[in-house]
Symmetry: C2
Subunit: 319 residues, 2 copies
C-alpha cells in the first residue's frame, strides 16, 4: 500500500528526543515510558478553514498544526513529550507534499523537545492534520488550570498581541506601508506559531493561579478563564501590548487595530492570573510580562478603556 | 462560539471510567494519572473512503472510529485508557449528528473501559474522525510487538474472517440468499467493529511472540508481521476459518470467498505467533483460537493450498 510506504519513509526522517520513546516505528502503537501525570490535547487544522494551500506551504501547515497543539501543553505548564499525527491528503498531492509537511512539523518538534511518535496517513478530499500531543509532569499540582483565578489576583500576559491577525490580513491582500522585516514577521507569526513551552513551565512553577493560551483571542479566551474560575475579570485595554505593524496593517484593511489585537486570535501568547504578591517572582521566572488587568468577586469579563468604562467590540468577526 | 458550545454539551454526556482521569473538561488539555508505560495510536476515518453517510449512521461512524483505534491497543496487549477525538464536520450537519456520533463512540468506550478524555470539533467539507487512544501497561515486556516471531513458532488467529468484507459487499448491493440474522451480523461487523482488548491482553500474557490486528486483511497484515520479525511465515488457507455467510455473499457478488476472507480487512481479529509449546496455555487464556500456519527461517509470507503449494490471490482490490 502506498500509504504504508509513505509512513515508513516519513518514519525514517523522524528523530527521537529524550529517553521516553521505547518503540513504535512499524508497530500498531507507540510505546512510551511515562512520568506520573500525562497531559494530552488533540487539535485539527483543516484546509479552507485554518489555512489555504495558496497562503501556507506544506511546511507551514505542519508547523502550524503541531504548534497550535503544543501551545495547549504550554498553557498547562507541562513538559513536552510526544506527538501523534493524523494526515489526511487528497490523492492528487504527491508524497513530496507529505514529506515537506512532516519536515515542517519535525523542525518544530526538534525545537520543542518533542518526538513525533506515531500517526497515520489517509486519503481525503482536502488537506487536514490532526495532532495529538502528550506532555508530562511529576504531579498534578505542578500544572496550571483555567479554574484557579481568585478575587484580588492580577492578570498577566506574555507578549504583544495581534501579529497573527495582521499576518492573516496581509495574506488577504491588505496593502500596508510597513517595513519588509515587520511584514515578514507578521506573516511568519501567522503561518508558524511558536508554543511557549518553557515560559508556560516557568509560569506554572512561579505561582500562577490560572493560565490559558490565546488561540481564539484575548476576548474569547479570557472569558473562558473567567467562566471556569467563577470570577469577574477586567482587562485595561490601554495596557494590552500590540505587536509592531499591527496598527498599520489593520488600518490599511479598514479594521480597528484593537479588535485585531484582542479578537483575531492565534497569537498563542499565554494569559494568566497570579496573586499580586507573586509579581516579582513571575517576572524573574518568565522574563518580561505585561500586567493588564485584575480579578474580582463576581462573574464576567470586562474590557475597559482608560477611564475604566466598558468597551464593546462590535462588528468583530473571527477572522 | 458554536463549536465550543457543542464541545461543552458533548462533554456533559461523557462518562469517566477508572481513577486515572484527573481533569480535562473545559481545560486546554486532559490530565491523566499515568502507569509506567503509555501505548498510543492515532487513526483517522474519512467519509467517502472508510464509510459513507448513506451506509453508516452517525453512531456507526463514531463506533467504527473508536473501534479501529482501540484495536491497535488490543494488538499490543495494553489495558485500555483514554481516547481523544478530533471531529471534522460539514457546517450543514446539525449538532444532533455530532451528538449521535459521540454517543456511538461513548457506548463502545463504556464497553471497553475507556474514557473519552478530550478532543475538538472543527468545520470541514466532509465528515472525518481522528481518534487517538492511549492504553497502559506496567512494563514494556508485558506488551506484544510485531517483531518477535521466531522460526519454529506456530501462527494463531482469534476468529473467523471475512465478515466485515462481506458486510461491505452487502452495503454495495450484493444480493445473497442468507438468513436475515446472518446478514445483520455481517453488516454489524462492518459498521461496528469490536476491538478484542481482553483477548489481546490474555494472549500477550500467555506467551505470544508477536501479534497484529487484522485491519488491512490477513494477507497484508501477516506480511507486516513477517517483515518486522525477519522470518518466513506460511499460512495454510484451508485452516483459516471463514465467517458464516461470507461464501454466499462473495459468490453473489462474483468474488472469491477466500479473497474476501484474507484480503478485505477490517475484521479486527488478532493474528499472533507463539512457541509450539505454548499452545495449551494460549487456548486456556484466550479461549478458542485457530492454528493456521508456521514460522520458519527466511523471509516472506506464503499462502498455501492443501497441497502446500503457493496461492496467488490475483485480481483482489482492497475494498
Amino acid at each position: 500500500m502506498a500509504e504504508r510506504q509513505l509512513i515508513t519513509s516519513i518514519e525514517r526522517r523522524l528523530g527521537v528526543r529524550g529517553d521516553r520513546f521505547a518503540r513504535g516505528r512499524g508497530e500498531d502503537a507507540a510505546v512510551v515510558r511515562a512520568r506520573a501525570v500525562a497531559v494530552t490535547s488533540l487539535d485539527t487544522v483543516v484546509e479552507g478553514v485554518h489555512f489555504h494551500r495558496y497562503t501556507h506551504s506544506a511546511s507551514d501547515i505542519g508547523h502550524k498544526a503541531l504548534g497550535s497543539a503544543l501551545s495547549d501543553l504550554a498553557a498547562m505548564g507541562a513538559d513536552p513529550g510526544e506527538a501523534y499525527v493524523g494526515l489526511a491528503l487528497p490523492r492528487a498531492l504527491s508524497g513530496a507534499f507529505a514529506h515537506e509537511l512532516v519536515e515542517g512539523m519535525e523542525e518544530l518538534a526538534a525545537a520543542c523537545d518533542t518526538t513525533i511518535a506515531g500517526g497515520d496517513v489517509v486519503e481525503a478530499g482536502r488537506v487536514s492534520v490532526s495532532v495529538s500531543v502528550t506532555g508530562w509532569a511529576d504531579a498534578e499540582e505542578e500544572l496550571a488550570y483555567r479554574d484557579g483565578a481568585r478575587a484580588g489576583d492580577i492578570v498577566g500576559l506574555t507578549g504583544p498581541l495581534g501579529a497573527s491577525g495582521a499576518g492573516l490580513l496581509l495574506l488577504g491582500g491588505a496593502e500596508a506601508a510597513v517595513p519588509a522585516a515587520v511584514r515578514e514577521g507578521l506573516l511568519r507569526r501567522h503561518r508558524r506559531p511558536c508554543p511557549l513551552l518553557a515560559t508556560g513551565r516557568a509560569l506554572a512553577g512561579a505561582g500562577v493561579t490560572a493560565m490559558i493560551d490565546l488561540s481564539d483571542g484575548l476576548a474569547s479566551d479570557a472569558a473562558h478563564l473567567t467562566d471556569m474560575s467563577g470570577v469577574a475579570l477586567s482587562v485595561a485595554l490601554a495596557a494590552v501590548p500590540v505587536a509592531e505593524g499591527v496598527e498599520a496593517v489593520a488600518l490599511a484593511a479598514g479594521r480597528d487595530p484593537l479588535e485585531i489585537a484582542v479578537g483575531a486570535g492565534e497569537d498563542y501568547e499565554l494569559l494568566f492570573t497570579a496573586p499580586a504578591g507573586a509579581r516579582e517572582a513571575i517576572a524573574a521566572a518568565a522574563g518580561e510580562v505585561w500586567w493588564i488587568g485584575r480579578v474580582a468577586e463576581g462573574t464576567g469579563l470586562a474590557l475597559e478603556d482608560e477611564r475604566g468604562e466598558a468597551v464593546v467590540l462590535s462588528g468583530f468577526e473571527h477572522l
